[in-house]
Subunit: 120 residues, 2 copies
């Protein structure tokens, strides 16, 4: 498995991260995602991390990069499904993800994206 | 990673299979999914297998079981994102998935589910 699938949901894209990320996979995801945003004119990206028990600085940086990349291409990124333990660890470690929106689950994330897109 | 995440999208549930399935994971998915269908009163399940390069008889049987399980709980199952090579192999091997609906991608799968739910 060398690619993380990107699913199109209307004008948004959904990425569910389930596997342990490594450099190559993160780079491939960034490439695929930018290509898909460009091809589908997506207005938003939902990044589901509910399967991740651990979010370290590598994943944190990847999320920030994806968010920055999407923003340049006129798409908002919302991180959804973060586990409570992950949120606690991020705060305790002082890891911040500047400019990244979060929502409790995919539905709320999608509503948030819809609001952001409409007000633009 | 010992659980496959189940995402709620309105009245449907979305499951993206990215990792190699084994017995325990398949059983856990069946348990989780039936519990989620019951809790959320979901009317349909989208099973995204776009990340799978290989669908063998084990995965085929798991998909059939999930479909049967959902049907008992009044939810339709649609398998989406099957790779062309996977479709060819399934036909060549004579593997059938009776009662399982398929669609090209998540969007079409969701439309199919909406139609099925409305006509009931």
């Amino acid at each position: 498995m060398d690619r993380i699938p990107i699913l199109r949901m209307g004008e948004f894209l959904l990425v569910t991260i389930q596997v342990d990320m490594h450099d190559q996979l993160a780079l491939a995801l960034q490439d695929d995602l930018s290509e898909r945003i460009s091809r589908t004119s997506a207005r938003g990206v939902l990044l589901d991390i509910s399967a991740l028990d651990i979010v370290d600085s590598f994943i944190g940086r990847m999320i920030s990069t994806i968010s920055g990349l999407s923003k340049i291409m006129d798409a908002e990124t919302v991180v959804v499904g973060m586990q409570p333990a992950v949120a606690i660890t991020l705060v305790e470690l002082g890891l911040t993800m500047p400019g990244v929106l979060t929502a409790l689950d995919v539905e709320r994330g999608m509503n948030l994206l819809r609001e952001r897109v409409q007000t633009q």
